[in-house]
Symmetry: C2
Subunit: 352 residues, 2 copies
């Protein structure tokens, strides 16, 4: 069996046991809270993990792109949520085809999106479930008020081929209570209009851990929880030892005692720091910080007793793992030093 | 012939005439200065453009990864420079194979790198050209002094299968004069040691335009000049109308009068702003700014008379085009609205 020493760098390593433990831990939490778990595959983009998440008890998966959903449907996943406004004839035709082979649900936050869906989905015997996206404080997509949510829900309910599926939000980081109040109010407004709201879907790995069993939220769509990363560690979701994804890299230069250069730059680790200082954490080398990235070089600043030598192989926990898997064609599942399997990141690059 | 209206979003559009004009303009400048041009393919990762660059007069190409060089060699490119410390048996074996089929040169900034090369390349009849990388102010790779450069050049010169090929630098942005002085001094030190230095290679699109015909630099490795981007425009390299690469995107949500959401986020435009404010420039919509990105959403802030509607298709000039092509599997060459050809980004994802 090959080992990580046989891999060329930079490469992605996924500690399989840690990822499985992260899946189990989140599912147990959701079960305790009476929450349905619908993991977001954006983090791994792999049918392999999507199936493990379902096997652990997830009710289905979440994809962000039709192309991702198609890959997952091809691999045998049967319940897919696309929390996105799907617009335009090309995407709507693909969405209709997908609806013919999996249990599908989508979101809308405008009449425009609903009109497009209503014109495409016309079979009252096999209606598409459409949730209304709500802006509960994040300031991205979503209706701005409960009354807007009610108006859109009514419009969905009136379309022959659509069914009002509930509410969906991506809450502002750390403002889950605000989101909770927003959604509870909207649910009440829907009820007052005679519209049942059986599904309320929320997202974000950190917030999932703060959810309570008295919440109006019925399902969570965490993505990053499977691998975790430096950002999640700063949010207290786990420790650095829970992080399943690392980037294996080689020290290719050591021009000064305080500076070493890795063969992993922004095309391997990404420039997406999510606001953190430094571009990742170098395992096992206290005093070594990844302080800069250019496209194919990572700059490590060494202080104190930190030592690196040219040719050393190091492992970097990235700041944001979801954008890192999106840069690589393959990931390597590992157990200690052994490489169990090399998987093609099948849903990567499915832009539309 | 298909048009851009037939493309799904997000997609990359390359205005073919603009890219060709950018190639021609840079080549003419280099010719005027008596400089050799050796374009860096990191920006486009396409044999299609590499061949056009050679046809326009470039002496060869620059690649950053062996995998990129292999793609280019397979496509018939014959003179490749890899300005990188190549380390480890797997990469050295591939480098040796590459040396058997193209005119190859590489760099080194340490004895470790040179020892690895010297042990692999042992044919005195077909020596590998190795340039010494110099840190002329950027603070990334490279020897720190002229005396270090001389010591490494001597070590290269002594290896049976290696030939000292000259000096290479990536200058600090806007500090070309500092780099010039550094290199002139090193060249003199080499001469004093009896080592001829016939090739001095420098990089960076903006600095190329400030080069003079009295420089010690003999060749330039610009990458971004072919497409240009918002960062290059701020550096005065061209206007927004010279930018050949745009990301075609759809307005998928318009939750408030001042906020519209695009279907291009950090997985399409990248988070790499190179220090600029905003994440790209939206063409033809003054008052509309791309003020935020999450993975699959771009947030546009509208002010004044700026108007967008859900379903509108817009074109975004990214801040840094090199990291954008690295996210897509395909680019579309266009002439006005016509799609001339859709090219697979063949050298994308060649991490090692």
């Amino acid at each position: 069996m090959p080992t990580i020493h046989d891999l060329d760098t930079p490469s992605i390593l996924i500690d399989a046991a840690r990822a499985e433990a992260n899946i189990t831990r989140a599912q147990a939490h959701a079960d305790r809270q009476g929450l349905k778990l619908r993991p977001h595959i954006k983090t791994h983009k792999l049918p392999y993990w999507a199936k493990k998440q379902i096997a652990a008890g997830a009710v289905g998966i979440t994809c962000q792109k039709i192309g991702e959903a198609e890959v997952m449907a091809d691999a045998g996943l049967t319940d897919i949520f696309l929390p996105y406004n799907i617009l335009g004839p090309a995407k709507l035709a693909r969405l209709l085809a997908l609806h013919g082979r999996v249990t599908l649900s989508v979101t809308a936050d405008s009449v425009d999106t609903i009109e497009g869906l209503a014109a495409t989905f016309t079979d009252g015997g096999h209606r598409l479930s459409v949730l209304v996206e709500c802006d509960t404080g994040m300031g991205r997509c979503g209706v701005q008020s409960a009354s807007e949510a009610v108006a859109l829900a009514r419009r969905i309910d009136q379309a022959v081929g659509l069914a009002f599926g509930g509410l969906m939000t991506y809450p502002a980081a750390g403002r889950a209570e605000e989101a909770e109040a927003w959604l509870a109010n909207a649910k009440q407004a829907l009820a007052a209009s005679g519209l049942a709201c059986e599904r309320i879907s929320s997202g974000g790995t950190p917030d999932m851990w703060r959810s309570s069993d008295t919440s109006v939220v019925t399902e969570y769509r965490p993505g990053t929880y499977i691998y975790l990363d430096r950002f999640q560690v700063t949010k207290g979701v786990g420790t650095i030892d829970d992080c399943a994804l690392t980037v294996l890299s080689t020290v290719v230069s050591h021009p000064t005692p305080a500076r070493a250069i890795l063969d992993a730059g922004s095309k391997a680790l990404s420039s997406d720091t999510l606001g953190l200082k430094d571009f990742g954490e170098l395992l096992g080398t206290p005093g070594a910080r990844v302080t800069g990235l250019s496209e194919e070089h990572g700059t490590v600043t060494l202080s104190g007793d930190a030592k690196l030598r040219i040719g050393d192989r190091v492992r970097v926990v990235p700041d944001h793992c979801c954008v890192v898997t999106n840069l690589f064609n393959e990931v390597n599942l590992i157990d200690g030093d052994r490489v169990l399997e090399t998987l093609t990141v099948e849903a990567r690059g499915r832009m539309a």
